[in-house]
Symmetry: C2
């Protein structure tokens, strides 16, 4: 471009960055910029500030559609801001999560959006690395860093109340993780229990089924256990959609009609549930809102490293579909 | 660790890297290593060589379960080799793919595994960046770089022949991309056409349905078109599983029984298809084999930048499930 405009590289840089340059020179450079289809980006400015223009997104599992869908939204939102997102799949383990909060290699990324599983509030609070960090999810809440989440207790209460409102009386839950005293599963179980109490239903511990992971196979196994109870449930609230999709497969295989015999509600509103037969009633977190909020907090943090941590709660809603509502075989996916 | 063993950092480094050190010293260092639970990693060696220990995986879409499942396998395989994988979701566009083949920011990554959509053989051949590069998929085949793929023509022919072997006579295809003269869709269509000819069936152009993207909604739309034909098909080969899952939803909504009225075959063998009702017959590429081969080629390339490019073809197999075979409502997912 400098050659095309017949000026030095330094002069091009001055024009782009708005420094003082003669009017004729500015015009030649701007014409060269237009001719070459140059896309203004922030990398030159970043490099001057010792930045890379790269942000990291660290999530436990990309083959959980919730994280894959969220990753796409965060990548696209960052791209609009001129940032590249690189995604680190941590597997939720200590070693790889420690690497994330230690800054993922010095000078590599300008900031990190992190959905922790193993790292807790204390781990985050005592990190020495100063890479700007925004936390997602429920593992670590208000305190040591900027944080974006939905109200998981309220969401689980709404989902369970929906099942109670259909007249279901033996409502099961799939996805408890009794060894985790905080985090997503804990909050969803709290909401589930609260809704049963509000509906005047007994909390039967045998109907609260643990799941080590949240994949389809875990849901399928949990549903198998439920169908073998002396008195199987007439509704199941699954703590995510993939658990629900696995559970529905098992219920189908064992001759249960959904929702007539067992109503099913999931959590996440992934694409899979919308097209499933039956389509899946689910809690829909505002994933685009999570992506936007996380990016905004992180970009603000990069500019003002010492400001106090902020807390953003993103909205959610219940999407009622065939697995708990519409029963016509020919109804369309919504 | 050096302090614990009472030696210099240099001495610890010598022990770890197998250099000459006195026997007593070596023992003290090794004991300190054991006491501290030190995990040997390659980062110190990498830093000496000007490497970061980080590899990139660039894929078009993470919310395609195929890429999410492949990403998990590649991340885990790289971790076994002491490398961190960061994932770049390119969206398949020119600008973000150009960034990938330009090395993703100088000195950032030691190598790239790249599944291109927009970049073609010429783009790859004329790159000036020297970051080691391994290509996945069918967009760019043998030639400019190391390359891992399955035989897509053969796989599509097997899938289509399976449908013809069931006695189906009006076999449709969903997923054609007539404006792309190379790549996955092109090769799967070639295999589809070849199988029809081998089975003595006419190739009806109206039964070859394009799909701009390969998501469920695209499959649902294509199936809607097929059901509105004067003579709808009795079988559909979808060029990936998410197209098939979307198509099956529409077929169900319009009263078609699967497989009795329309048999359906997909491609990729994603978890979703295994648990769907009906479970989905599909071409199963050896994803773990792709991950292992890609890593091996890339690590070899990092060591020997000038060796000639290699080509690896990974195996695939057809997994027959309910959507084209087993029809019992109570059969189990496999």
């Amino acid at each position: 471009m400098a050659a095309r405009a017949g000026v030095s590289v330094k002069t091009v840089s001055n024009v782009i960055n708005g420094a003082a340059v003669g009017a004729g020179t500015r015009e030649r450079v701007q014409q060269a910029i237009a001719d070459l289809g140059y896309r203004p980006n922030i990398s030159a400015r970043n490099l001057r500030r010792g930045r890379t223009g790269i942000l990291a997104l660290a999530v436990p599992e990309l083959d959980q559609p919730y994280f894959a869908e969220l990753a796409r939204l965060i990548v696209d939102t960052a791209d609009e801001h001129g940032y590249t997102i690189l995604i680190d799949q941590t597997g939720g383990g200590d070693r790889r999560e420690q690497y994330v909060i230690d800054g993922m290699g010095a000078k590599l990324v300008d900031g990190v959006i992190f959905s922790p599983v193993a790292m807790d509030r204390l781990d985050i609070a005592r990190r020495v690395d100063t890479t700007p960090l925004v936390l997602l999810g429920e593992r670590v809440s208000a305190g040591p860093a900027d944080h974006v989440a939905i109200d998981n207790v309220a969401a689980a209460r709404t989902a369970t109340a929906h099942l109670a409102g259909l007249g279901r009386r033996r409502i099961a839950a799939i996805g408890a993780q009794p060894d985790r005293v905080q985090g997503t599963s804990h909050m969803r179980e709290r909401g589930f229990r609260a809704a049963l109490e509000e509906a005047g239903l007994p909390v039967e511990e045998s109907l609260i089924v643990p799941a080590r992971e949240y994949h389809r196979r875990d849901g399928a196994e949990a549903a198998a256990y439920l169908t073998e109870l002396e008195e199987p449930p007439d509704a199941v609230f699954c703590f995510n959609d993939t658990l629900a999709l696995g559970a529905m497969r098992t219920l189908h295989d064992r001759g249960y009609r959904i929702p007539q015999d067992v109503a099913v509600v999931g959590f996440d509103d992934i694409d899979d549930g919308r097209y499933n037969v039956p389509s899946l009633t689910t809690v829909s977190p505002d994933k685009a809102g999570i992506a936007r909020s996380a990016l905004r907090l992180l970009l603000d943090r990069i500019e003002a490293i010492d400001s106090p941590p902020r807390e953003v709660t993103v909205r959610h809603e219940l999407r009622v579909r065939e697995s708990s509502g519409v029963t016509s075989r020919r109804s369309r996916a919504t």
